[in-house]
């Protein structure tokens, strides 16, 4: 096979990986602070995807333009969800939290199924089939836009947590729950804010994903699993780790598909996960806990 084929596959793998990273980012943020393992992650993303689909079908609003508004809607959804439903479970045993979010996931999937039916919905933008030719490399335009959005969102999120007072307060909660309470931080409100931010990331990811994949209610569970593989590989709770994990998984799948057989792509991404768990259990950029 020619070098051009390898180049094309590597570029496609990196772009897909960046989008995967954006998708996993919200999961990492939520777990890093609230310590809730959000098993409804993919399902929440499918809500954002359906919002994008409905807005496009009804008003022809481009998902790229709707990225911020949809993220804002998902922020409110996440905030309300944490404040109203998840906060009472924060001090309960982990299995109770687990059952709560799994139940939430089931409700979301079936509600979407009732409202939209099982058929796949698509967003056909004017650039849906565009690609850029850069020498021998052909770059998928939608994936390139989604990958760029992934980088921008990650940088913005990093800046928020690093340089804003709210961000610092949230990090304080994540570092020391009791200490945060002692210095007078409204931890529950900050948890709700964090869940909202995580949900907004999910909203941004879902909006971008709606450009590159068909939307069905059954997408959720598959994306939840993928997000877990990525954040565990990159380091649960690490934002940069989510992005690196995404790229690693995307690249591994692409190269494995080219060199071996595409039907074994997922096997290779799970092999990476197992390797990381064996050699660096906290993930590539995760912090080791005592």
């Amino acid at each position: 096979m020619s070098l051009a084929v390898y180049l094309n596959v590597v570029v496609a793998g990196v772009l897909t990986g960046l989008v995967y990273g954006l998708m996993a980012l919200g999961l990492s943020v939520i777990f890093g602070v609230v310590r809730i393992v959000n098993f409804a992650h993919g399902e929440m993303m499918s809500i954002a995807m359906y919002i994008a689909v409905v807005l496009f079908a009804a008003f022809h609003l481009d998902p790229l333009v709707m990225l911020v508004p949809i993220a804002a809607v998902m922020f409110v959804f996440g905030y309300v969800l944490q404040a109203g439903l998840i906060n009472p479970f924060i001090t309960r045993p982990e299995h109770s939290q687990f059952l709560l979010v799994v139940a939430l996931a089931l409700i979301i999937v079936n509600t979407l199924l009732i409202i939209f039916g099982p058929d796949a919905q698509t967003i056909q933008t004017s650039y849906a089939y565009d690609s850029f030719q850069l020498g021998p490399v052909i770059v998928d335009a939608s994936k390139a836009y989604a990958a760029a959005a992934a980088i921008v969102v990650t940088v913005a999120l990093f800046a928020f947590f690093r340089f804003t007072l709210f961000g610092k307060a949230i990090r304080a909660c994540a570092d020391n729950y009791t200490g945060a309470l002692v210095i007078g931080l409204d931890v529950k409100r900050l948890y709700a804010l964090t869940f909202g931010i995580g949900a907004a990331c999910v909203g941004a990811a879902g909006t971008m994903m709606s450009l590159i994949t068909d939307v069905t209610p059954m997408l959720g569970p598959a994306y939840t699993l993928l997000a877990f593989v990525i954040v565990i590989t990159g380091g649960l709770g690490s934002m940069a780790g989510a992005l690196i994990g995404g790229v690693l998984i995307g690249l591994t799948e692409a190269i494995a598909g080219l060199l071996f057989t595409p039907s074994a792509k997922t096997m290779f991404s799970f092999a990476i996960l197992v390797l990381v768990l064996l050699l660096r259990p906290q993930g590539i950029l995760g912090k080791r806990t005592a």
Binding site: V5, T16, P118, S131, Q133, K265
Partner: protein, 407 residues
């Protein structure tokens, strides 16, 4: 102490006897029913789960059937809906429930695994089953007395699709020398792949690429296929991957001379609706309807009236024919007695039908061996039949128009 015979105050009177008989009739097994009235037909399909789209597509075939049966002078059917939830165990449970709720005949279940489970229930309970779609050959090799199938088995499909492929090459006046072969890696895909290799095709398969049916991204697969530089692309897949592959081919600026699909996906409504002009060109080798048959026109009219935005396809046709078979057998049996119905089903001889082939008749195993596949090409968002010659209603377009030149 002496007791008079029949002195028990709870003795059976004429009134209690009548009440008892009435209660027993209500509680009796569902199978024991009087003849007459509509036949209760349990239609079990994957209406939810990962095959929900196809199950609901089959349901459209059910929705348009009643007035056509009436116009053909066939008895009325009462439809009872069952959902396999795309799961074999649930298929079994729901088939049992349909029977206990009074279904006198079952129809289903699209997926071979689920159909196998429903067939086992039908045979155990002694309730006839008409298979609408399901191609695992083993189902009709079990010696079942209550099961008939009006759909080709995998060997029949392979044999006939191969013949249709050769006819397509003959019409095109071109026999390709090289092909790239993409297929899903599930039971259906790998089974078909083995069969295609076994057929000794006239071209060399320069690259075989198998992929996961749940794949979210097929860019690598298309890059690999494009790099193979083959004349045509063979594909065995489903709707989701048909759409993903087409999109990737457009983005990667690659159009083979022909796309030959040996399975579903490429002719489905969602494919044509979603991809618009980009859906034109692929040829599907599939069990199909004969557009020149009289009943086909009736069915097409009814379908167009009820679903104006959709094209009629295999799912609708074979589900309709399953109901036609049921109503025809009920009329000839003159009773809902399961044994009489099963005997009538085996004696079916319908020549005024819709699918390609001589008609509907079953061999001793309950299989319709006269069914034929068609070569169907997407054109202008619709499907036209290009082969076999006797069922063709359009000329073949070969090679495919480049994706880059479609405005």
């Amino acid at each position: 102490m002496h007791r008079k015979p029949f002195a028990n105050p709870r003795r059976i009177t004429r009134r209690t006897f009548t009440a008892g008989v009435a209660a027993a009739a209500v509680a009796a097994p569902a199978i024991v029913r009087a003849a007459g009235g509509p036949l209760k037909v349990g239609v079990i399909l994957p209406r939810s789960g990962f095959e929900a789209g196809i199950g609901q597509d089959c349901q459209r075939g059910v929705d348009i059937t009643p007035p056509i049966l009436k116009s053909l002078g066939l008895p009325e059917l009462t439809i009872m809906n069952g959902d396999t939830e795309s799961n074999v165990n649930t298929a079994r449970e729901h088939a049992e429930k349909l029977v206990s709720d009074g279904a006198q005949l079952l129809i289903g279940a699209f997926d071979s695994g689920q159909t196998t489970a429903v067939a086992q229930v039908a045979e155990q309970k002694g309730i006839p089953l008409v298979i609408n779609v399901g191609s695992d050959p083993q189902i009709t090799e079990q010696g079942y007395k209550f099961v008939v199938r009006n759909f080709p088995t995998v060997p029949m499909l392979l044999h006939d699709e191969f013949a249709e492929q050769m006819e397509v090459f003959s019409i095109a006046g071109v026999t390709p020398k090289t092909a790239v072969f993409l297929h899903v890696n599930d039971l259906f895909g790998t089974g078909m792949a083995k069969g295609i290799h076994g057929m000794k095709p006239p071209y060399t398969i320069v690259e075989e690429i198998s992929y996961d049916p749940g794949a979210r991204d097929l860019s690598v697969e298309v890059t690999k296929a494009k790099a193979a530089n083959a004349e045509i692309m063979l594909v065995v897949g489903r709707l989701n991957d048909a759409m993903l592959l087409t999109r990737e081919m457009v983005k990667q600026r690659w159009t083979p001379n022909a796309i030959l699909s040996w399975g579903p996906g490429w002719y489905e409504n969602q494919y044509t609706k979603t991809l618009g002009k980009l859906s034109d060109g692929p040829i599907s080798l599939v069990p199909w309807y004969d557009p020149n048959k009289k009943l086909t026109k009736t069915l097409q009219d009814a379908f167009a009236k009820k679903f104006p935005d959709l094209n009629m396809n295999t799912n609708h046709v074979y589900t309709f024919e399953a109901l036609l078979i049921a109503a025809d057998a009920y009329k000839r049996a003159g009773s809902s007695d399961p044994k009489a119905l099963a005997a009538a089903l085996h004696a079916t001889h319908i020549t005024d039908n819709v699918s390609i082939g001589p008609g509907i008749m079953f061999d001793a195993k309950g299989q319709n061996i006269g069914l034929k596949c068609g070569a169907v090409q997407n054109r202008g968002g619709k499907q036209v039949t290009v082969a076999p010659k006797e069922a063709a209603n359009a000329k073949l377009e070969w090679p495919m128009k480049s994706y880059q030149n479609r405005t």
